[in-house]
Amino acid sequence: MKHENIFRKLARWFVRSIFGLKFEEKWFHINSNTEKAREITYKNGVPDDSELIVSPTRQIFNRFMERKFAVFSVFVVVAMFLVVFIVPHFMYKYYDAYTETTLKDLPPTFDLMSVPNEMKDQIKSIDSYSGFTVGLSQEGKVYVWGAASFNATGVNLKDIPQEVRDAKIAFVSAGFDHIIAIGEDGKFYGWGNNRFGQYDIYDADKNLIQDDNIANVPDDVYYGRLDVSQIKRVTSGYQASAILMKDGTLYIWGNMKTYDNMINFIANSEGEPKKGFVDIDFTLSKVVTIDETQSTINTTGAVSKRKKNRAGSGLFGAARTSISGEGTDLSTFLGERKITEIRATQSSICLLLDDGSIALSGDFKDDNVEVPVLEDGEYFIDIEGGNYHYSGVTNLGHVYSFGGDHYYQASAPALEGAAKIYTGAFQNYAVDANGKLLKTWGLSHFLFGTDEAGANIAERVIAGGRVTMTVGAVAVIIEIIIGVSIGLLSGFLGGAVDIFLMRVAEVFSSIPLYPFLLILSSLLAQAPISEDAKLYMIMVILGVLGWPGFAYVTRAQVLVAREAEYVTAAQAMGVKTRRIAFSHILPNIISVILVNMTLSFAASMQTETSLSFLGFGVIYPRPSWGNMLSRASDAVAAINFPWQWIFTSVILILTTICINTIGDTLRDVMDPKSTNDK
């Protein structure tokens, strides 16, 4: 027989679990123990049955291993444990309270960063603000990729209107839920959500909102009167868009509620657009521009004199060269240099100065990648901004990224020959001089989609699994420790102790479980202790309320085992009572305890899940399989966003089924009366 090491054993069990005993025997050239047991060998003319005698544990193990589904379940449960306890250490960017409103409620998508093949060699421009990206090829065709369908409003941006498909487009821009496109003949197209004036003019026939907060599309834009060759930049924000002409004219429109200073930039009451701008971009709540006469950042729209330092207004007063550096007042910082470009993320701006250096202003989150140090003679020729990061391409053809790195969008590879760079909301596309795509980096896929806060469901499922399984395991361990000890004591000592302990167990078992748990957790919620401590308290409470089951079972078994002869023999030999209880009786009872342990583990997980579902156990932001399913209780959300509860449910059900199968199979194989049926 081949040398049987652990790997071969695992391989054998795996094959047996999926394919069954027959294939295992065929492939590994062995006979199972039962086969062996049926062969009769002779020794000295008499049947030699010494190998039929196996210890009870070995027999249970053998019979367990014969059942395909049980072995499979063991694999699944072990794999689940490994995954939920080991993988979180590799989720470097994960934290419980992550929210991202531009990525909320996305279905599982894998094409967030995949440029369509038709476009890969002839990229003209790429733009995105939320989960979908719009791209324009040099032939003038528009492509949309990513999570472009909004279940709640019924908008699907991948449905590009026929007229857009037929026309040759010169500029595209994507907002949160709309896309605008300018044809080469100046014609204006828009599709997506138009309820807030993203691309449509109010008309009594159409079902649009007329509101003081909506700035309508300027007539020049809407009726296609613009000269396309004079367009400098087309950009979009949350539900707003802007077109900047080379002569400094600015057309801007959309939902003004989100941009508190947009009113300073829209056309005046005669419909004349404001002039004199060099560049424009949108942050989360502000429109930021560069005024060509003064080259100071004009966040309020008021024209300011160079002498009077109005650049210190609000958020973007101080400029600095690095993310965590000290800021100096802008005009001092600039000196004689001029600002050529301004790009913005949600909460910060980056200025590209005419000598190729950059200036930053605004707020950056804690875990940002710093501004890279350029080589000698290298300077930035272009900067683009995503939702939290910036990427720049230099004169030497290198690309650098800095800023927010949650989806590794700020980890730029070392490239040569890059001529332009385009950023999506969380992605980067490096393009060479001919428009050919060199490389992409950033957010590329969501395995299970995102939930209503924008967090990655796959990561939360794994982190939640850790919480749920820990709670279940610790609760069961506490139950066993208390219940088995009390059962042993009560069964072995008997008499008054027995009666008293059983009364105590009865009291504990007549406590109504859910009401008590609810009250205790609502009390805990107000207690001034840390969140971790509250979680441990919940585990302890679950354990303390569930031990009577184990006590009854253990006591029953001890009462039976007490009458056995080996106990009498041990007592006659003078073995101490405690030693008899723990070393002689307990090993014979342990099989039943094991069965109950697995079933109780599944039950504890179920209780914790239900408790968290109701909002009482594990509380947001800490994930748990139960509270991730609480969104499912809303029927509308359950239908519109099925991925938010289906994946978690399937994993939870699978784990529970496997644990229950193990318990059931153990119980079946331990029963000496049951026949060998699967």
């Binding site: 007549s510 609810l518 399913l629």
Partner: protein, 437 residues
């Protein structure tokens, strides 16, 4: 048998008190102080006419008055518990003319004398404010003066100045009280179950309707479940190992492992959104006031889906238990004897094996019936169904104190009573138990 029942009842009452005491003292840990918030609310209404100093005085009086009303003028948990039960007494009226706070200011003598005149003259009792224990009886004016000037009083006020705590502790040291101030027990045993803030009604008026709803659903469900699972379990046990049995095993395994709310949501999505047969939530169609037969039909239409869901949720576990106990019964030696005797299979199964299998099933069946009264919380929350479970959930979420305690009492009582009934049913079903008692 009668002695057994009597013993069990006694034990039940003991456990009932113990459990309710534990729950009550747990609930005292809540930092909410109703008397303080009520006094605060009332003082805010009166704010207009009083100077800050007068407000302070009035607030202290109101605080004490509400404490006496709710019976929370002591910190002793046992006394509070007894008061809640109705075995210890608390003050009946809210009237603040029942007591007078002795303050350490220039007018204290005058106000005390005015109070004494109000209550009809001396004698009056001086009580310590923090636990209303009697300190001294004053028989006339001189004793009052002596008391106010006494070192004891001064020392107490001095100590109070260092301890003044604005967050709800009673900052008064002594009060004057009329001798014949009445205290009467009023609590659960007197029929006063409390007042629900959430619903604006006394607790006893809110609960019966919800209990009726839960019982309605529960009864239908229980009957349907038993009608399905008992034949199914028996058939699976008899035909153990067959394809039917294996099929059912898989189904029950999945059903047993799935959390109930997932089953509900699948049913809701399937029946309400895709098929559109049933309404999602509520008990009656809002706005339409049907009467008579149409009312009953409407009610049934709304109640149908929760009943179906609850039935499906409970099928799996009960089928498993039925099957397991039936298998154990069929393995008994007496069944082999019965078959050997030549009895027909039907007699063997239903009359012999099922009788033996019934013993562990009794707990499930009886427990199920009693459990319907307590209501299925998750189901009722998802369907918006006004039953006991939802009542309890909203009460806990909004910290509706009296309602929670009352529902706790009901749940504990149901649990203990069902244990007693189960034990009695064991006696009815299993003659061996009867004889040994």
């Amino acid at each position: 048998m009668a002695r057994y029942i009597a013993r069990r009842l006694l034990y039940m009452i003991l456990v009932f008190f113990l459990l309710t005491f534990v729950l009550f003292s747990l609930y005292q840990l809540m930092p909410a102080n109703r008397a303080y918030t009520d006094a605060d609310a009332e003082i805010k209404q009166l704010r207009g006419g009083l100077t800050p100093a007068q407000q302070e005085i009035r607030k202290d009086e109101l605080y004490l008055k509400y404490q006496r009303l709710y019976g929370t003028d002591t910190q002793n948990v046992v006394v509070l518990y007894l008061r809640w039960l109705g075995l210890s007494s608390k003050y009946t009226t809210q009237s603040s003319s029942q007591f007078q706070i002795i303050r350490d200011n220039a007018e204290n003598r005058a106000t005390c004398l005015k109070f004494v005149q109000q209550v009809g003259g001396f004698p009056v009792v001086v009580k310590r404010a923090h636990d209303l224990s009697a300190y001294k009886t004053l028989a006339n004016e001189q004793e009052l003066d002596a008391f106010i000037a006494s070192d004891e009083f001064q020392a107490a006020q001095e100590e109070l100045k260092t301890l003044r705590d604005p967050n709800g502790r009673l900052d008064i040291t002594f009060i004057l009280e009329a001798v014949n101030c009445k205290r009467v027990p009023s609590g659960i045993f007197e029929g006063d179950f409390g007042y629900s803030y959430d619903h604006g009604k006394p607790v006893v008026e809110v609960v019966p309707a919800h209990m009726r709803n839960s019982f309605l659903i529960g009864l239908f469900t229980e009957i349907a479940v038993l009608a399905i699972t008992i034949p199914l379990g028996i058939k699976c046990a008899v035909k153990k190992g067959s394809r039917f049995d294996r099929f059912t095993q898989i189904f029950t395994l999945i059903g047993f492992s799935t959390p109930s709310f997932i089953i509900y949501i699948i049913f809701i999505v399937f029946f309400c959104s895709i098929l559109g047969w049933f309404p999602v939530s509520g008990m009656l169609t809002p706005g339409a006031n049907y009467t008579g037969f149409r009312y009953v039909l409407d009610l049934l239409w709304h109640v149908a889906l929760p009943t179906i869901c609850l039935t499906f949720g409970s099928l799996a576990s009960i089928t498993r238990i039925t099957r397991a106990s039936m298998i154990d019964a069929l393995n008994l030696d007496c069944i082999r004897t019965a078959r050997a005797k030549g009895l027909s299979e039907k007699v063997v199964i239903y009359s012999h094996a099922w009788r033996n299998a019934l013993v562990p099933m009794v707990a499930i069946i009886v427990g199920g019936f009693f459990g319907t009264i307590s209501g299925a919380m998750i189901l009722e929350q998802m369907f918006g169904f006004k039953g006991m479970g939802l009542l309890f959930l909203t009460a806990v979420r909004r910290a509706d104190y009296d309602m929670i305690m009352f529902l706790e009492v009901i749940y504990t009582f149901i649990g203990l009573f069902s244990n007693l009934v189960i034990d009695l049913c064991y006696g009815i079903v299993d003659p061996r138990v009867r004889i040994s008692k």
